[in-house]
C-alpha cells in the first residue's frame, strides 16, 4: 500500500507539471508567448475576452490601443499604416459597459509605457440607460478585482484574482482549450490573435451556409428584444459621459494621442432606433459628444451617417461573403470598413464616409 501511495504522489506531481507545460506551450489564450507560434488562432479566447484581454495586453506592449465594444473587436483591421508598423492591441470588449471598456483600456495603458495613441470608438446604445434606472455611478464590482490584482484591499478579491491567473495556466478549461486550440486552427469559429483582434470567421460560416439573411434576421430579432424590453433613454445624469470624459483626461495627462469616433451602422439599425423613438436621443447624444470632444480639443469622427457604404443595399439571399464587403449585419462592420475608418482618422479627411462634429456653442 505504501508503494501505491508513493506512486500516486509521483503521478500527481508529474501530471500537474505536464498540464501546466501544455497550457504554457500551446498558450490557448495568447497570454504567454511573445511570438506567433504554430497555433496563432486562439479559438478558445474568442468568448473569454473579458478574462484574457487584460493579461494579453500586458504581454503585447502596444503602441496603438483600440477601445470599444464588439464592433471594434470584429471590425478593426489587424494591420494598417495608422499603426506605424508598431504593435496595436484591440481592446474591443463585446457587450461591455463603457466603464468596463475604459477601465480595461486604462489598465493596459498604465501597465504599458509603450501606448502612444488610443482610438476610442463609441456607440450610442452604450451611453443609454433604462428610463426607470438612471445610474450616476457604475457597478464595477464584477470585474474591478481583475484589474486591481494583488493591489486590492479585499482578501476575497485577491484570492479571486490569483485563482483566475492560476486557472489560465492550470485548469481543466485551460487543458480543454489547449486541445481545442490545436484541433480548431482551421475551423470556421471565431478566434482572437494575441493582439486581441477577432477574425470573425463564424460570420463567414453562417453567410456561406445560410446567407446574409440569417445574420440580419438574428440581429434584428436581438435588437427588437433589447429595445422593446425597457424604455431606453440618453440621460446626461447617468455616469456614461463622465466615464468617457475622465478616461480622455487621464490619457491626455500621459501625453497619449486620442482619436474619438462614432461607430457606423447600416440603415436598418438606424431605422430600429427611430422605431423605438430614440432618434431624438441619438441627436442629443451626438451633440453632447461634440461638446465633450471640443472640451478636450479633439475632432469627433461620426461614421454613423448615411454614407454610401452604409446605405448600400445588401443582397440578403447571397451566400457569398464578398457581396457585402463592409458589413456583416447592420451593427457590425467588417475590417474593410475599419480600414477606411483608420485611414480617415489618420488623414482627417472624411470624404463621404463621415462627419467631423465640432461643437458650435
Amino acid at each position: 500500500m505504501k508503494h501505491y501511495l508513493k506512486l500516486v504522489g509521483l503521478f500527481v506531481v508529474i501530471g500537474l507539471l505536464v498540464l501546466c507545460a501544455t497550457s504554457y506551450l500551446l498558450d490557448p489564450y495568447g497570454i504567454y508567448a511573445n511570438k506567433d507560434g504554430a497555433f496563432a488562432r486562439k479559438v478558445a479566447a474568442a468568448d473569454k475576452g473579458r478574462t484574457v484581454k487584460p493579461y494579453q495586453a500586458l504581454n503585447s506592449a502596444p503602441y496603438t490601443l483600440l477601445v470599444g465594444n464588439s464592433r471594434v473587436e470584429i471590425g478593426m483591421p489587424a494591420e494598417h499604416a495608422f499603426y506605424q508598423g508598431k504593435p496595436a492591441y484591440n481592446m474591443g470588449l463585446p457587450g461591455a459597459s463603457v466603464s468596463m471598456q475604459y477601465a480595461y483600456a486604462m489598465h493596459a495603458v498604465e501597465h504599458n509605457n509603450s501606448v502612444k495613441q488610443v482610438v476610442i470608438a463609441v456607440d450610442f446604445l452604450d451611453f443609454t440607460s433604462a428610463a426607470d434606472n438612471i445610474a450616476s455611478t457604475p457597478d464595477n464590482s464584477g470585474w474591478q478585482w481583475r484589474l486591481q490584482g494583488l493591489n486590492s484591499d479585499s482578501f476575497a478579491d485577491k484570492r479571486r484574482y490569483i485563482a483566475e491567473r492560476i486557472s489560465l495556466l492550470f485548469s481543466l478549461s485551460a487543458l480543454t482549450d489547449s486541445v481545442k486550440t490545436v484541433l480548431a486552427q482551421q475551423s470556421n469559429v471565431n478566434a482572437l490573435n494575441r493582439f486581441g483582434f477577432n477574425d470573425g470567421r463564424v460570420y463567414h460560416f453562417h453567410v456561406g451556409n445560410e446567407g446574409f439573411a440569417a445574420l440580419y434576421q438574428q440581429k434584428a430579432h436581438e435588437m427588437q428584444q433589447r429595445l422593446s424590453a425597457r424604455q431606453w433613454v440618453f440621460n446626461q445624469q447617468s455616469y456614461h459621459l463622465n466615464e468617457l470624459d475622465h478616461f480622455i483626461t487621464r490619457l491626455k495627462k500621459q501625453n497619449i494621442a486620442v482619436y474619438l469616433m462614432i461607430n457606423p451602422y447600416q440603415q436598418p439599425y438606424l431605422d430600429l432606433l427611430s422605431q423605438h423613438k430614440l432618434d431624438q436621443h441619438l441627436a442629443n447624444w451626438k451633440h453632447q459628444m461634440a461638446q465633450l470632444s471640443a472640451r478636450h480639443q479633439l475632432p469627433l469622427f461620426d461614421f454613423a451617417i448615411a454614407s454610401p457604404m452604409v446605405t448600400e443595399i445588401v443582397d440578403l439571399k447571397s451566400k457569398n461573403a464578398l457581396d457585402s464587403p463592409y458589413f456583416w449585419e447592420p451593427a457590425h462592420y467588417r475590417p474593410a470598413f475599419g480600414d477606411f475608418i483608420l485611414s480617415t482618422i489618420q488623414t482627417s479627411d472624411c470624404r463621404q464616409l463621415c462627419n467631423i462634429l465640432i461643437d458650435k456653442n
Binding site: 503521478f11 486557472s167 485548469s171 478549461s173 487543458l175 451556409n209
Partner: protein
C-alpha cells in the same frame, strides 16, 4: 468550507491530517479526537461563524436531554427533546413557508423576513433526534461528551451526510483502531473518485441544466428536446453531485480511520421505485424507515395503513429537503410511486406470474427512470409554474423543434420530421449536441460502471458495507501502478477545476 476548495484541499485537510496522526501516535488518541472536534467546528464556522453558536447549543442541549432520558426514563423527556429539535428546525427552515401560506389562505397581510438557513441543520438535527429516541427505546447512552460532539460534528459527514447512527460511530471512537497505509490508500482513492464525480461530472453537466430551468421559471417555454435535455442534465447533476460528496466523505473519514456508511448504490440502475429508494440516499431512507415509518405503525395494521404510512413518510421526507410546495409534491409523488409499486408487486405475484424478469427488465427500468426524472423536475424547479411548464414541454405539448443547423444535417429524415411537425430555430446547435453527449456519457457511467462499493468491496470496512446488497464487479481496485495512475489522473483533472464557481446541491437541505 467546500471539499473542492483550495483552502480545504491544500491547507485544512493536510494540516488536520498531520496534526491528528502526530497527536495520535505521540500524545494520545483522546487528544487526537479533541483535535478532530476543533477542526470540525472550525470547518463549520468557516461558512458562517454565528451559526456555530446554534450548532453548539444544539449539541449541548441534546447531550444533556439524552442523559436525563437515560436517567429518569420518562417519555415526556424524549417528547420534549424531539419537540425542541423540531422547533429549531421549524423556525429556521419552515416558519417562512408556513406563515406565508397561512397568510395567503387567510388573506392576512403578514410579512416574514427570509431567514438564512443554518448549514446542515437538517442533518445534525435528525441525527440527534434519532439518538434521543434510541436512548429511550434501547437504553443506550454515550457517557463521553467529546465523543458525542464528534458523533454529531465529525466534519466529513457534518454538512451533507451520510446521516450516521450513533451505534455505528461511537464504537469506532472508542475502539482506537490502528490506522494503516491501507486506510490512506483506499481513503485517498475513494476521495479522488468522489472529487472527480463532483467537480468534473456534476459541475460539467450543470451548465446544461440550470439555464433551462431558469428560462422555464421566467415563463419562457422550452421545446421538447430542450426540456428533456435540461431535466436529464439535472438528473445526472444531482446524482454525481451528491454521490460524489458522499464518496468524498467516506474517503476522508477513512483517512482518520473512521468508516462511514454507504449512501448511494447506483440508484439509476434500479428496476422499480422500491429498489431506487434502497439505492438513493440510503442513510436518509434508513432514518425515515426506522424513526418515521415504523413509528407511524409501519406495516403492522393492514395494507391500507401500510400504504398511508408509506405515503406520509415520503411526503415528510420531501419536506425534509426543503420548505416548499415542490418538495411536498416531490415527496407525495414518490409516496404514490411506492404505493403503486408495492401494489403492483402484490398483484404480479398473484395474478401476473407470466411476467418474467428478463423481458420485463428494460420496460421496468425505463418506467422507473422516467418516474424519477419527472420527480426531479419538481425537486429542481423553484416554483410550481416552472415545474409544470417544464413537464408540459417534456410531454411535447409545447411543440418539438431542433436547431436549424442540425435540421440541415438531418435532411434525409425530412419527411419524418415534417410528419412529426418538427420545427427549427436559429443557433443553439452546439449546446444541443453538447447537452446530449453529456447525457449519454453520464447515463452510460451510471448504468454500466461499477460504483465505489463494488470497486472497493474487498477493501472497505464492514461498517461501510453493512446492510447494502451488491453484486461483485469484475473490476476491483488494487494497489497497483495502473490504479495509481488512474486515480492520479482523476485527482489532477478534478483539482484543475478548482477555479470554477461550485457548490454542493445538498448544502441547501
Amino acid at each position: 468550507m467546500l471539499f473542492n476548495s483550495v483552502e480545504f484541499l491544500f491547507f485544512f485537510l493536510p494540516l488536520t491530517l498531520l496534526l491528528y496522526h502526530l497527536l495520535r501516535h505521540h500524545v494520545s488518541v483522546q487528544s487526537a479526537l479533541f483535535l478532530l472536534i476543533i477542526a470540525s467546528l472550525f470547518f463549520y464556522a468557516w461558512w458562517q461563524p454565528a451559526y456555530l453558536i446554534l450548532l453548539t447549543a444544539s449539541v449541548l442541549s441534546n447531550y444533556f436531554i439524552a442523559k436525563a432520558i437515560y436517567r429518569y426514563r420518562k417519555n415526556w423527556l424524549t417528547a420534549l427533546g424531539v419537540c425542541l429539535n423540531l422547533a429549531v428546525i421549524g423556525y429556521y427552515k419552515y416558519s417562512v413557508f408556513f406563515v406565508n401560506n397561512l397568510a395567503m389562505l387567510s388573506g392576512a397581510d403578514w410579512q416574514v423576513e427570509q431567514i438564512l438557513l443554518p448549514l446542515a441543520i437538517s442533518f445534525f438535527t435528525f441525527q440527534q433526534i434519532a439518538y434521543l429516541i434510541d436512548v429511550q427505546r434501547h437504553q443506550v447512552i454515550e457517557p463521553s461528551f467529546s465523543k458525542y460532539v464528534l458523533f454529531v460534528c465529525f466534519f466529513p459527514q457534518l454538512i451533507a451526510g451520510p446521516i450516521v447512527h450513533h451505534s455505528e460511530m461511537m464504537p469506532q471512537f472508542r475502539q482506537q483502531v490502528a490506522i494503516s497505509s491501507r486506510h490512506f490508500a483506499v481513503g485517498l482513492s475513494i476521495f479522488s473518485i468522489g472529487l472527480f464525480k463532483k467537480t468534473v461530472l456534476a459541475d460539467g453537466i450543470a451548465v446544461y441544466a440550470n439555464p433551462v430551468f431558469q428560462q422555464a421559471e421566467q415563463g419562457i417555454t422550452p421545446d421538447f428536446f430542450t426540456a428533456w435535455g435540461g431535466a436529464l442534465a439535472y438528473t445526472f447533476q444531482l446524482y454525481f453531485d451528491f454521490s460524489g460528496y458522499s464518496d468524498m466523505a467516506i474517503g476522508l473519514a477513512l483517512l482518520f480511520g473512521i468508516a462511514l456508511p454507504l449512501n448511494f448504490n447506483s440508484p439509476y440502475k434500479a428496476l422499480n421505485i422500491v429498489d431506487f429508494w434502497r439505492r438513493w440516499h440510503i442513510t436518509l431512507s434508513r432514518f425515515l424507515r426506522d424513526y418515521l415509518y415504523i413509528s407511524l405503525g409501519g406495516n403492522r395494521f393492514g395494507f391500507i395503513r401500510r400504504y398511508s404510512n408509506l405515503f406520509i413518510t415520503m411526503v415528510l421526507g420531501g419536506l425534509w429537503h426543503g420548505a416548499g410546495w415542490n418538495f411536498l409534491i416531490w415527496g407525495a409523488l414518490h409516496g404514490s410511486y411506492l404505493v403503486v409499486n408495492h401494489s403492483f408487486s402484490h398483484i404480479r405475484q398473484r395474478y401476473l406470474v407470466f411476467i418474467k424478469d428478463g423481458w420485463f427488465a428494460p420496460l421496468a427500468w425505463s418506467l422507473t427512470f422516467i418516474a424519477v426524472v419527472v420527480g426531479w423536475v419538481f425537486f429542481r424547479a423553484p416554483s410550481l409554474d416552472g415545474a409544470l411548464l417544464m413537464l408540459s414541454a417534456m410531454s411535447g405539448a409545447e411543440g418539438i423543434s431542433l436547431p436549424a443547423g442540425i435540421m440541415v444535417q438531418l435532411g434525409f429524415l425530412s419527411p419524418l420530421l415534417q410528419w412529426l411537425n418538427v420545427g427549427s430555430y436559429l443557433g443553439g446547435g452546439m449546446v444541443f449536441i453538447e447537452t446530449w453527449l453529456w447525457i449519454i456519457a453520464l447515463l452510460s457511467i451510471s448504468l454500466f460502471f461499477p460504483n465505489v462499493l463494488q470497486l472497493f468491496y474487498q477493501q472497505l470496512p464492514e461498517q461501510t458495507r453493512k446492510g447494502v446488497s451488491v453484486t461483485d464487479a469484475e473490476l476491483q481496485w488494487q494497489p497497483s501502478a495502473t490504479w495509481a495512475l488512474a486515480i492520479s489522473l482523476l485527482f489532477i483533472v478534478a483539482v484543475s477545476t478548482l477555479g470554477r464557481v461550485s457548490e454542493f446541491l445538498y448544502f441547501n437541505f
